[in-house]
């Protein structure tokens, strides 16, 4: 691959300049559509530019100064995208907010970003802004798009977008060159947007991204993914999320493709079908809910239909799994697949509005392999993507034809990746942000000589694919310094149908051990099929045959670690099967089924000590609370078994 071009033409170095350029080169091409009154209303690039110009001039008439911040709040609406460009045209900084933010969050950001103007969608957002305005003294004007219900609001600082554009029109008569002059003053290194990231801890942080960050990142991804001006995207993810800003704003303006705004949040899936996007992004939970809705409809179908669909779906998944692994596909499947395509896959794709998809992405968190496989097996090109706000959203993407279940792909052009000794992923790219707004401490903690600390632990595998292990803070070390990712191991263990829960131990220890909870139903069923008698969970758990079964599963996990250089040394050496199920009533796991490590380490200290001794069985006294309130103790013998480990034979 040739080195990506990192220069920017100074005539086209900001988004407002690029919008104007589109109005000249693609005046009649549809830039954005919105479904309104049941009909898709289209705006061309020339309309887009004119709207941006009038909004910008209207803001100027209200006294907007270079560097002012303007909040943008609402669902994905063309008017709000125009407002983003209008603010940028005047050298201001748009600050998109999550439309479902509660008042307290809104107040924090409006105040922290020292916002002077707010452009909001409707009455709901106006009401929220009005409630917090008294505590945000810098906020001067609130502009709304949808006037419904706002007619009798007396506030003098409140005005509709139409009125703002009228003001802009008048302003332009006095100062006809104002808009062009202001746009010309924009520079690539001006801050283009501040995206506040929620973060799991502490107050939101406002990541500042420059025009250069966004233009280079979006342009490199357009080139790498081969995006064209005839793409159709559906803009339905929050405007405050950097991903939407890249897909529905930056890339759309750079490539000139069309953004479609759904009628309302409730109609997204339906509107998706009408548009038939060619380029689509969804986080795992959306893929999951689409899959669920398909499964429900299949379940409702008459049995011959259901049997047919299920047969072909199984076939497709088997074929896709083999393809991803690079294994040969049996002749029978190869012959049946086109029939399935005719009867099931193509109609289903069409029904989901995914017939025209050339690329689709999932990101944000790990997607379940079955879900990923389901969509790919239908012939939808879903790929995994890795990114974060601080890197202008895009770091790595799986290339077409090089898609795997367990990686997030290869770094995009001009993106460099480094793994620290602690296993944390560092990224350096043209998209690396300019720092957090008014938060130098956080900036310092995240940005180190142009390298961004992602907070994720991972490694680059021999094929050059980036793999994410876990959040870096959840990764620790064995006594000899080998990297140890307990959650990663536990998830691999739990992938087995026979293992319900697992707790891996190893921090500061010589090797890794595991406490395993069998899945009573699955293992019970397995035992019955083998004619293995058992009386209770405890009894079943301690059967030598069950130990043999779990031994196989642990060996599978250990073997899979061989491919992962950083984790190869952290194979499970010894394990035991717990005599009881981990239970939220006993405070061993949370109600959302997260393992409470600290508590377990304390409660099962005897067992854990035994795992790090050479004993092969340990006695536990289990306290049992009976239904009538009496308590008793049950004495159980818990076996400990050595696990099979594997030595790395290959050359990396």
């Amino acid at each position: 691959m040739t080195a990506p071009d990192l220069t920017i033409d100074p005539a086209l170095d900001t988004f407002p300049k690029l919008v104007r350029h589109n109005a000249q080169r693609l005046p009649r091409k549809v830039a954005v559509r919105e479904k309104d009154y049941g009909i898709w209303q289209a705006y061309t690039w020339s309309d887009y530019f004119e709207q941006v110009r009038l909004i910008a001039l209207g803001l100027a008439a209200l006294g907007f100064q270079r560097g002012d911040r303007a909040a943008i709040v609402g669902d994905n609406r063309p008017q709000l995208y125009w407002a983003v460009a209008a603010v940028q045209a005047l050298g201001g900084i748009p600050v998109p907010l999550y439309q479902d933010a509660i008042e307290r969050e809104m107040e924090y950001i409006l105040d922290h970003a020292e916002v002077r103007f707010a452009v909001v969608e409707d009455q709901e957002q106006v009401d929220k802004v009005l409630h917090v305005k008294a505590r945000c003294p810098r906020l001067e004007y609130v502009v709304y798009d949808d006037p419904r219900g706002l007619r009798n609001y007396p506030e003098p600082f409140l005005l509709g977008l139409g009125r703002l554009q009228e003001l802009g029109h008048k302003f332009a008569q006095d100062q006809p060159t104002y808009f062009d002059d202001e746009v010309a003053r924009g520079r690539a290194d001006d801050v283009a947007i501040i995206c506040y990231t929620s973060g799991t801890t502490g107050a939101p942080k406002g990541a500042m991204l420059s025009h250069r960050n966004l233009i280079l990142t979006a342009r490199n991804a357009i080139a790498a993914e081969g995006l064209r001006s005839d793409e159709e995207v559906v803009a339905y993810l929050p405007m405050a999320w950097v991903g939407d800003h890249i897909f529905s704003y930056a890339q759309s303006i750079l490539a000139g493709f069309t953004v479609n705004c759904p009628e309302s949040a409730a109609t997204v899936l339906h509107d998706l079908r009408e548009i038939g996007p060619t380029y689509f992004f969804a986080p795992p939970r959306i893929w999951e809910s689409i899959l669920t809705s398909v499964m429900i409809r299949i379940g409702d179908a008459a049995w011959p239909k259901r049997a047919l669909v299920q047969f072909f779906l199984r076939l497709a998944q088997d074929v896709e799994r083999r393809r991803l692994r690079g294994e040969p596909v049996p002749l029978r499947s190869r012959l049946l697949y086109p029939l399935g395509s005719l009867l099931v896959y193509a109609p289903l794709r069409d029904n989901l509005g995914m017939r025209r998809i050339r690329r689709a992405y999932t990101a944000g968190e790990a997607i379940g392999p079955e879900i990923f496989l389901f969509f790919r097996s239908l012939g939808i090109n879903v790929k995994q993507l890795y990114g974060m706000t601080e890197c202008s959203a895009l770091i790595a993407i799986q290339e077409d034809g090089d898609v795997r279940l367990d990686t997030v792909g290869t770094p995009l052009p001009a993106v460099e990746i480094r793994i620290t000794d602690q296993g944390e992923i560092l990224v350096r790219s043209p998209g690396v942000f300019q720092g957090y707004y008014r938060n130098p401490e956080a900036t310092q903690a995240t940005l180190e000589e142009q390298w961004v600390h992602t907070g994720d632990a991972g490694f680059v595998d021999p094929a050059g694919h980036l793999r994410i292990i876990d959040r870096a803070r959840d990764v620790s070390r064995l006594a000899d310094g080998t990297m140890f990712a307990p959650k990663y191991l536990e998830n691999k263990l739990k992938f087995s149908p026979y293992i319900r829960e697992a707790v891996c131990i190893g921090q500061g220890r010589p090797y890794v051990t595991a406490l395993v909870n069998i899945d009573f139903a699955a293992v019970g069923n397995w035992a019955e099929r083998r004619g293995l008698a058992y009386t209770s969970y405890t009894d079943l758990a301690q059967k030598p045959e069950v130990y043999e079964l779990i031994h196989g599963e642990v060996a599978r996990v250990n073997r899979s670690l061989l491919d992962e250089e950083a984790l190869r040394g952290a194979q499970i050496r010894r394990f035991l099967i717990l005599h009881k199920e981990l239970d939220p009533d006993d405070e061993e796991i949370t109600r959302t089924r997260k393992v409470r490590r600290g508590y377990i380490a304390q409660k099962y200290a005897d067992l854990i000590d035994a795992l790090y001794s050479d004993r092969d069985r340990v006695q536990v006294d289990a306290r049992v609370t009976y239904e009538d309130g009496r308590t008793g103790t049950v004495r159980a013998d818990v076996r400990i078994r050595e696990a099979e480990t594997f030595a790395w034979q290959g050359v990396s």
């Binding site: 479904k35 309104d36 009154y37 049941g38 009909i39 419904r148 219900g149 007619r151 009798n152 009628e263 309302s264 409730a266 109609t267 339906h270």
Partner: protein, 262 residues
């Protein structure tokens, strides 16, 4: 929408009585509905509220007394004629066409405004086509207004009750009424649905300038949205005035708000 004659009340009910055999449902009730206002009619069960609404919408005819709409006598008109005058209503128990989609249900509200010949409609040419497009556009405004885009093509019978009520309001709005009669628009709704419905009623009044007379049991709702309240008890009007005044009226407190019936 429909222009309202500048002067005088939109509707005058003058000494109206209604009897069902020996039962006197309404006894010389007089009230006026002023253009642009939201009037709430309240009262205990059996006070005659729905009967009053039925008289206004032409389902019942008064035994004595007169009705005037925009200053003209309308005492003896039937429901269809009343609807043609610009009075639309919703029902206490939802009365939608259950098998028809939401869109089609609301479209039926436009029937009185359709002018083209049914034979032209059948072949969908020329004026019929233009007319249908115009009606559809209007219905889409209502769908947008009531935020029911997602259920546009859903059969009305499959919707939850709260949404059916909203669709029924949409159908009444489709007639572009000058006066909208709502019979317990919030009955059986949860708090959130009630809040939504309140907002819609206020917005209809504000955006379309529609005059609204509604029957409601939930006093907090009435006090929030009504400009004026009329109280009925045993078929008689016992109070008429702004919500705050009515709330303090001793006869009202005795009849309805506080004391149990003696």
């Amino acid at each position: 929408m429909t222009a309202v004659d500048a002067a005088g009340p939109l509707l005058e009910v003058d000494g109206v009585s209604v009897r069902f055999g020996a039962l006197v449902a309404l006894q010389r009730v007089s009230l006026e509905v002023q253009p642009g206002e939201i009037l709430a009619i309240i009262g205990p069960n059996g006070a005659g509220k729905t009967t009053l609404l039925n008289v206004i919408s032409g389902f019942y005819h008064p035994y004595e007394g007169r009705l005037r709409f925009r200053g003209r006598d309308r005492t003896h008109l039937g429901p269809a004629d009343v609807a043609a005058l610009g009075i639309a209503r919703t029902f206490q128990n939802v009365a939608l066409f259950k098998g028809m989609t939401v869109l089609d249900n609301i479209m039926t509200g436009r029937v009185l405004r359709m002018r083209s010949h049914f034979l032209l409609d059948a072949v969908w040419v020329g004026p019929a086509r233009r007319e249908e497009l115009a009606h559809r556009a209007f219905v889409e405004r209502i769908i947008d207004f009531l935020e029911i885009e997602a259920i546009r093509k859903t059969p009305a019978g499959r919707l939850p009750y709260g949404l059916q009520k909203r669709v029924e309001l949409g159908r009444a709005l489709a007639a572009e009424p000058a006066l909208l009669l709502l019979d317990e628009p919030m009955a059986g709704m949860n708090v959130e649905e009630k809040q939504d419905m309140c907002r819609f009623i206020l917005d209809v009044n504000e955006e379309f300038g529609t005059t609204i007379a509604l029957i409601e049991h939930d006093m907090s709702v009435v006090m929030d949205i009504a400009d004026r309240v009329v109280v009925l008890d045993y078929g008689r009007k016992i109070a008429d005035g702004p919500p705050d005044t009515v709330r303090k009226d001793q006869a009202v407190i005795d009849a309805y708000l506080g004391l149990p019936h003696a």
